[in-house]
């Protein structure tokens, strides 16, 4: 039986498979749905954006943090 693919299935599969193998028969069906479904396209892009935002959000690694680390470990990086 050819079961109709629902947006919920696509959304779940996007989340499961982002960065994984996209050649399975289910993936091919998902891709066909994705091309024609504006909601799923928006969803896919927003998942990608979520990951991108967390990737870019870093904390500055200052010289002071480095120096405290070296002190706490009893290491001296001024010796060459």
């Amino acid at each position: 039986m050819n079961k109709k693919i629902l947006c919920k299935d696509v959304m779940s599969h996007i989340c499961e498979s982002l960065g994984e193998d996209f050649d399975s028969p289910k993936c091919i069906a998902i891709k066909e749905h994705l091309v024609a479904c504006p909601d799923c396209i928006k969803y896919f892009k927003s998942v990608e954006k979520t990951i991108e935002l967390y990737k870019k959000y870093n904390c500055e690694f200052s010289v002071e943090v480095h120096n405290r680390l070296m002190d706490s470990l009893g290491l001296d990086d001024t010796i060459t």
């Binding site: 947006c7 779940s12 989340c15 982002l18 969803y43 998942v47 870093n58 680390l69 470990l73 001296d76």
Partner: protein, 185 residues
């Protein structure tokens, strides 16, 4: 000196080699500790504890995995210990119907690229990920943010590959939905 030689020298007690190893990984460890703990001071503590552990246990490092993978595991372990001690409340994310709700598929096209300069957005990202339990948070950060493979993530978190995949897709869906809600306010 290449990494393997540095590791051997550091194991033999060469302080300069140990210093080089610490310097090679300090930013990676600090940034990952920050991403998992969401707090610069806690990140610094976790980083120091991680390198203490590295120095103490480097002789047991057998080079079957990469040094970076080993360090990620130590960071995760130190963070999990902290989280257990502090017993924070996390949101359960087991209900697929709530995670994949069509109505939440709003358009993010208009979100500007430089939005991270905005303190409000950084607060939204912190608040959302802090709702994730440490186990989900670790998988999301290792796999998606740090770019490790599913296998490496499984090795670090001591989960099976299907368990990593399942946690990853739920974590992604939860974060996307929670951030989306905040954007709509």
């Amino acid at each position: 000196m290449e990494e393997q030689k540095l590791i051997e020298a550091a194991k033999a007690g060469d302080k300069r080699a140990m210093t080089e190893l610490v310097k090679a990984y300090e930013k990676t460890v600090y940034n990952f500790a920050f991403k998992i703990s969401r707090n610069p001071d806690r990140a610094e503590d976790i980083m120091q504890e991680t390198f203490f552990s590295m120095i103490k246990s480097l002789r047991q490092f057998d080079a079957k995995s990469k040094l970076s993978t080993w360090l990620y595991r130590i960071v995760v372990n130190h963070y999990l210990m902290w989280a257990r001690k502090n017993r924070s409340e996390f949101i359960p994310i087991d209900n697929d119907d709530e995670l994949y709700d069509n109505r939440s598929a709003t358009d993010w096209q208009n979100i500007p690229a430089n939005l991270l300069e905005n303190k409000e957005l950084r607060n939204i990202l912190d608040t959302s990920i802090e709702k994730l339990s440490p186990e989900y948070r670790s998988v999301f950060l290792l796999r998606d943010v740090e770019g490790l493979s599913t296998e490496e993530t499984a090795q670090i978190t001591k989960l099976s590959i299907p368990a990593v995949k399942s946690r990853l897709h739920r974590a992604r869906a939860f974060l996307r939905k929670d951030i989306n809600k905040a954007f709509q306010k």
